[in-house]
Amino acid sequence: MYLKTGVTPSASGSAYLEIETSAKPGVSGMKLSCSVHGPRALPRSAPFSPHVVLSTHVKYAPFATTQRRGYLRDPSERDLGIHLEAALRGAIIADRWPKSGVDIIISIVEGDQDRETSRSQGDEVWDMMNALSGCITVAAAALADAGIDCVDTVAGGVAALVQAAGDDSKPSIVVDPIPSEHEKILAACCIAYLPTRDEVTNLWFRGDLPASELELYTHMVEKGILASRNANRVLIDCLRETVE
């Protein structure tokens, strides 16, 4: 994981994140770039807001995934934007900037996908979770770079319940899953976590779990928090480096 802040001079805060998944050729990892504009005054026509108005844009570059994306944001990208907004809204101390707005723009330069294997069913959905956790981490770094007050640095983490090849093997929980490496993903969750406050600002779970196995769900959340703690360590190191 490689994180650098202050890459876009014209923005008030920016960050660049690269996540390397494996040494396998053909798998490139994920590359994200985030810029934060603001806080700046809202247009005169906007209604009064006692808090900072957050707007988030997440966009895959047209060439980021195996299937080409258009230039307009499609529903899945809008969906990612809302998830990101929920994750960040909990972290920002919004009432210090009344009547102002902050724009957070993330472009996913390269999505994390295996180009060698043929597209298997439902893979994009699990890729979206990985993308979201990257988005949360990079946006937190850019917010810190922009000097916007937050209660804590928020970071994203993913955990998944996977089943290895063979029908009768017991499902296991992995941290930071790579969808193409596993035979079947039963469930996954993406968590945005504030380590010092021990709070979760965003939780996105998807999968198929019987209600009787609620411990499995609890374990997944724990693992997701673990993953986000790891991401947070990188984030803190990067910010400390910038300060020194």
Partner: protein, 375 residues
């Protein structure tokens, strides 16, 4: 976004509401118990031109219509395990043998692209992120287990493409998620697809007798595995926590003081009672499909000002202004402050557990929806 629409409540009203909802037991503004739903009116089969439709009207005046339309579509062929190559005689024979060997196996496949869901909410732009979020949440629940898309399989060359159009016909007086989800559930229950007459991988040919058309979700138990089960479409519930209380189906005002709000999608399948079953499973077994955090609009509410910091109140005017830091951090009893930060994981766990409780709200809602006449 629909959930973050401004609520016209003053800080004092918000503080009052928050306090009364954190009492044990909580006192809700409309007198409901914490796990009680708003009363609703439901009917199905209202649109004759669709494969299935439903309308639900909540007591607060919000109303939604869902229409389900199905079209036959050619399945895009991808080279894979089950591709039949027409050239090469030896391969053909092998395939025949292979096909016989796998007779009992479930050959049906599904693709999430076979379901298209659109949500329309009056007063919101078509490209609003909020509606995209709602549509993604509802279709995610539907497709999470991968079983639903398999129902749309006709043969190896064709499938049904299902269009679910959800329209809220009243202004969004409360966060419309539970309403839309329940209406979709009913519409899917009433959906029927024409009975297939052709066999194998032929071009599909259907029975034109609508009365013979089977339901997408059959009434009678189907034996898929060892136990006979009747699967049901998922429902998505909105749950919120205030203090230590867990409140179901919050209204707009209640959501405005939520500490945390979750949308939890569950599905229930009833196991038919077997005569010679070793352990007859009572009731239905629930499955957790998806959870999403809803950004609670409480984060956007205006904060109150304590008397001590308010120069309009006599004595305070003579006092020195409070330090900015203390004014911001210290919570004063009865003065509203928008919640900051996230939710403790214990709270999140409790919310999910409460939803999945046996004999809880989900059972109640599913039972009630079961009672709707499907016409």
């Amino acid at each position: 976004m629909a959930s973050s629409q401004h609520v016209l409540l003053s800080p004092a009203e918000l503080a009052y509401l928050h306090d009364s909802l954190s009492l044990t037991p909580p006192i809700r503004p409309d007198g409901r118990s914490p796990a009680q739903f708003r009363p609703l009116v439901a009917e199905t089969g209202i649109l004759p031109g669709t494969n299935g439709s439903a309308r639900i009207c909540f007591a607060d005046g919000t109303e939604a219509i869902v229409g389900v339309k199905a079209e036959v579509e050619r399945t895009a062929q991808r080279a894979g395990d089950d591709t039949v190559y027409l050239e090469g005689g030896e391969g053909d024979e092998e395939d025949v043998e292979d096909g016989e060997a796998r007779e009992g196996e479930d050959k049906r496949k599904g693709d999430s692209a076979w379901v298209e869901m659109t949500v329309e909410i009056p007063g919101l732009r078509d490209d609003d992120s909020g509606t995209a979020f709602l549509a993604a949440m509802l279709s995610e629940a539907l497709l999470a287990d991968g079983e639903f898309a398999k129902r749309l399989w006709i043969n190896r060359r064709f499938h049904w493409k299902l269009y679910l159009d959800i329209i809220l016909i009243s202004p969004p007086l409360s966060y419309p998620l539970p309403l839309l989800s329940l209406t979709t559930h009913l519409a899917l229950l009433s959906t029927r697809l024409p009975r297939l007459k052709s066999e194998g991988d032929e071009d599909p040919f259907f029975d034109d007798d609508w009365a013979a058309a089977p339901y997408l979700f059959p009434r009678t138990p189907t034996t898929t595995t060892t136990i006979a089960t009747t699967a049901r479409p998922p429902i998505t519930l909105l749950v919120m926590a205030v203090g230590n209380n867990i409140i179901f189906d919050p209204s707009k005002e209640e959501l405005a003081v939520a500490d945390v709000a979750l949308a939890v999608s569950v599905t229930g399948s009833t196991a038919a009672p077997h005569a010679d079953d070793a352990e007859p499973e009572p009731g239905r077994s629930l499955r957790l499909l998806s959870i999403r955090t809803i950004d609670p609009p409480s984060r956007l509410t205006p904060p109150g000002v304590a008397n001590a910091a308010n120069s309009a109140y006599g004595a305070a005017g003579t006092q020195k202004m409070l330090e900015a830091a203390t004014a911001e951090v210290e919570a004063v009893e009865g003065v509203w402050k928008a919640p900051r930060g996230g939710a403790k994981r214990v709270v999140l766990g409790a919310l999910v557990q409460k939803v999945l409780e046996r004999g809880g709200v989900v059972d109640e809602v599913l039972d009630a929806l079961e009672g709707v006449d499907l016409g």
